[in-house]
Symmetry: C2
Subunit: 232 residues, 2 copies
Amino acid sequence: MTGTLYGLGVGPGDPELITLKALRLLQSCPVIAYPAPEGGASLARAIAAPHLPEGREEIVIAMPLDAGHGPLEAAYDRAAEAVAGHLDAGRDVAALCEGDPFFYGSFMYLFGRLAHSHHVEVVPGVSSLVAGPAALGAPLASRNDTLLVIPATLPEDALRARIEGVDAVVIIKLGRHLDKVRGLLGDLGLAANAHYIEHATMADQHMAPLAEAGPRAPYFSMVVVHRRGEAW
Amino acid sequence: MTGTLYGLGVGPGDPELITLKALRLLQSCPVIAYPAPEGGASLARAIAAPHLPEGREEIVIAMPLDAGHGPLEAAYDRAAEAVAGHLDAGRDVAALCEGDPFFYGSFMYLFGRLAHSHHVEVVPGVSSLVAGPAALGAPLASRNDTLLVIPATLPEDALRARIEGVDAVVIIKLGRHLDKVRGLLGDLGLAANAHYIEHATMADQHMAPLAEAGPRAPYFSMVVVHRRGEAW
């Protein structure tokens, strides 16, 4: 009997936003795996920590500080080999994923390496996409709305063209692109409808009107915009 | 002390995909409210049922079979009045929502009526947007992908224009529009990348390649498409 790799969504940050299913698997899988920045703490593990029993075997997937393609791929090659070793020996492995495993998560890299050779099950989680609007009290989409999730890293023209055609927008990967996003939403007449949030549901959650955010945004942040504003 | 209205995401269908926070509030709120089709059973209540203690006061929001604007608004006017009565008397109310309250949910109608006068807290849940791809084993979005959620009810030209500009698409509200969606994705060369799923994570979950789905889709169904196909 070979083991199962579970891609386990542990939710957006608040440990109480984990599902009963993820909790059960955290407590039954003898091996856990999670990404961590080189020399730093893993957010996914921190979210799961209050629920983790003692004595789990832990596979740390060290994310190279130089986030280039090569070192990242090499880190996941090593991690997939370690995970496969446990699966082949019949041990289930839970890969901890912030939010949801398939929503902009690094679980993709394990999935792509192991899904064709091993049994993999994805346990969906509460994603930041819905946790941000919930914390903001800003409805995301309803009725016949179109909803776009778009990384701020795209060129301004591409952002503009796509945002113009939809009702609701969530802009992610803000980083140093916050000023570009702010200017663009101003041009489109959407500045007053734009809400900024970082670290949604975490202890250091912070919200602001977009005009007052920045100048630089952390990785776990987003801007939520709806064309209708507060006209629900 | 007035009560709090909780918009409680109960997840996509599997009762084990409820969060610890939603579970705690289900067990502590003396009043629950939920939509149900006139003369039918409530899906949101069915998802929560295994976790519900005895003796809760229940507010059934009867959805008129004629889903026109007027009768729907009237049903929510009555529901908001009943909810407000409990809140004003100091009783917390949990409004049960399939998936996530702010992701195409009917909680919007209560929120719009009560958020300006009462304390409302939204508890995010696992949405169908992530539950569908998890069940399909089809990664949703990663890296610098753009992701679009779009209702099949839009005219074909509008669907085409928006789908052409993005990497990943989730098409909802399929109903009698399944053939239109199938034809359109075929024209765009995306037919082989399109996965159909209905009732994700529920007992009667059903998946199929889009070519074999239909002819008519139930309300809780979606098509998931990624431009890269399986090239993760």
